[in-house]
Symmetry: C2
Subunit: 330 residues, 2 copies
């Protein structure tokens, strides 16, 4: 058995209350007692049991973090930001990966996490209720909700898409296709299409339905989307893809089909994943500050846990990262 606070108390000839006070930096003991207790702790290698402490305190210093999919740069950059900030502030993170959301929510409740970060999920009514029942603060990352009680941290998708499209226009392109995400995705699907359309409109460029193709953000869907675009007969000199993975899929397929990037076709992506800098030619894209998004989410959550007050949502700054896949036509 690992030694407990009682073992320390006995050996040092004090009460457990005194040991506890010393451990927690409260006062109520002589310096001599303190020294003796500290030495005893060292001698028997005592470590406090956080489970027992949590039971009394009703705080576990643990944050539950949910991702639909961890195996991509996007998620891992965010999670590493969260973990970093949390750890610096004495919280650990319980990671949940995958679509067993209902089950996870119950698990997090049973394990008494102090707060929850929900990443890239659409918050359904059911989840909202489960979260309410837990009575702990929640933050949404890369997602939004209609509930005022749940702040979010994300980039302005519509504006970022607008800026990406406007960037292509500024480079002299007027025939611009788009590889969009899921058509019904209210977070990263629809708003990016809206931003694209708005940029075209404001620059007096007619929008053509044949210039837009939908994927699911994945590399594979970028491959397929590129084929669809090329076979569809639309004419375009540039593509805005709603994710780097799709942009790189498009890059691959276009290259396979004999096109030269950016000479024959310009491509701009979205996310600025590490891989966007590893492909040849390196991908021009929209940067999302993923690590910062994670940090900000953790910061907000911890703030809410500490004062019990609601935090504000935050829109993080995006930016265009110019690399080699966009050719200037001017």
């Amino acid at each position: 058995m690992n030694p407990t606070i009682r073992d320390v108390a006995k050996r040092a000839n004090v009460s457990v209350a005194t040991v506890s006070r010393i451990l927690n930096g409260l006062d109520g003991y002589s310096d001599e007692t303190k020294q003796r207790v500290l030495q005893t702790i060292d001698e028997i290698g005592y470590q406090p049991n956080a489970i027992a402490r949590s039971l009394y305190n009703k705080r576990t210093q643990t944050i539950g973090v949910l991702f639909p999919n961890l195996t991509n740069d996007f998620s891992s950059a965010i999670i590493s930001g969260i973990e970093d900030y949390a750890n610096d502030h004495d919280y650990s993170i319980l990671v949940c990966n995958g679509m067993r959301t209902r089950r996870y929510l119950q698990l997090l409740r049973e394990k008494q996490v102090d707060g929850v970060i929900f990443c890239s999920y659409l918050l359904t009514e059911e989840y909202k209720q489960a979260l309410d029942a837990m009575k702990v603060p929640v933050i949404l990352v890369a997602s939004i909700s209609d509930y005022a009680s749940i702040p979010y941290v994300k980039v302005d998708d519509k504006r970022a898409a607008y800026d990406a499209t406007a960037y292509l226009i500024r480079k002299g392109h007027r025939e611009i296709a788009m590889i969009a995400g899921n058509e019904d995705d209210p977070i990263a699907g629809i708003p990016r299409v809206e931003g694209y359309k708005k940029a075209l409109f404001e620059h007096g460029i007619p929008y053509g339905e044949e210039k837009i193709v939908y994927g699911d953000f994945s590399f594979e869907s970028g491959l397929i989307a590129m084929d669809a675009l090329l076979n569809g007969g639309a004419s375009f000199t540039a593509i805005f893809a709603a994710s780097d993975e799709m942009a790189i899929g498009a890059l691959n397929r276009a290259t396979e089909r004999g096109m030269r990037i950016p000479d024959d076709l310009s491509i701009i992506g979205y996310d600025n994943l590490r891989v966007s800098n590893m492909v040849v030619p390196s991908l021009t894209t929209v940067n999302q500050p993923l690590c910062d998004i994670g940090i900000t989410a953790a910061e907000k959550l911890i703030h809410m846990m500490k004062n019990g007050r609601l935090a504000e949502s935050t829109i993080m700054e995006h930016s265009i990262v110019e690399r080699q896949t966009v050719k200037s036509l001017c």
Copy 2:
């Protein structure tokens, strides 16, 4: 306050012992009592408190997982394998990311995790002692140790490097350079160099020191290594890189310097990260079954936690994934 087992007991007119028995599927109650209790639980929305349970049981159903760096495909594929298996077997994972190892180990001990998975770390004497003090099973992933008490799950690095080099030889290459990992890394550095040398030796190809350059497994170091190789004046028709990231770095720099891959130079990588399939041309590489490695590690650990017996180490199968960066000279 969330309702407790006492609230259920009172409302259902039974003792907490009975509620507990029903909750845990033990026997000792009439069917009628059971129905009444279950209904009460439902009515007041009772959820058991896992912290209280853990305090008594001395089991938290939690596994600590440590990574030096989470923000890469390698780590995230492994962690997702671990999480998947663990969750299926009623364990959650507490994720630690970064080099604050000592601090993490103490944290995991205080939080009473039931087991630890240590990924891509060299197990120092200090960590070993901390782990011993925790008295819980430990598994090493993508690493080894001299301690019989700590089983590992990994690929045979030397053999995999041998096979990669032999593959190039089989394709007719005789002048083969290597971009190695850290020169002093006993896990992924030295053994891969040994495998490379062994393959050359067994095929009667003289080894030349000028043909080997050391990086640190990162993309950036691959860039630099390629320059070093090209400027060093060694002659070679193929490169074996000890990581996909370095291979892709080499691919980038070679392309920048006007070489055509694989026509002017063949490259084989190591890891089979998702990105290896996204670059153009797609990278021929050594596959490590990362997700399976994670699953196997979790399986072994849970097994050890359940029976208290030591598990055996496992060498996972690697394989060569043929894509487009190696040209046959035969």
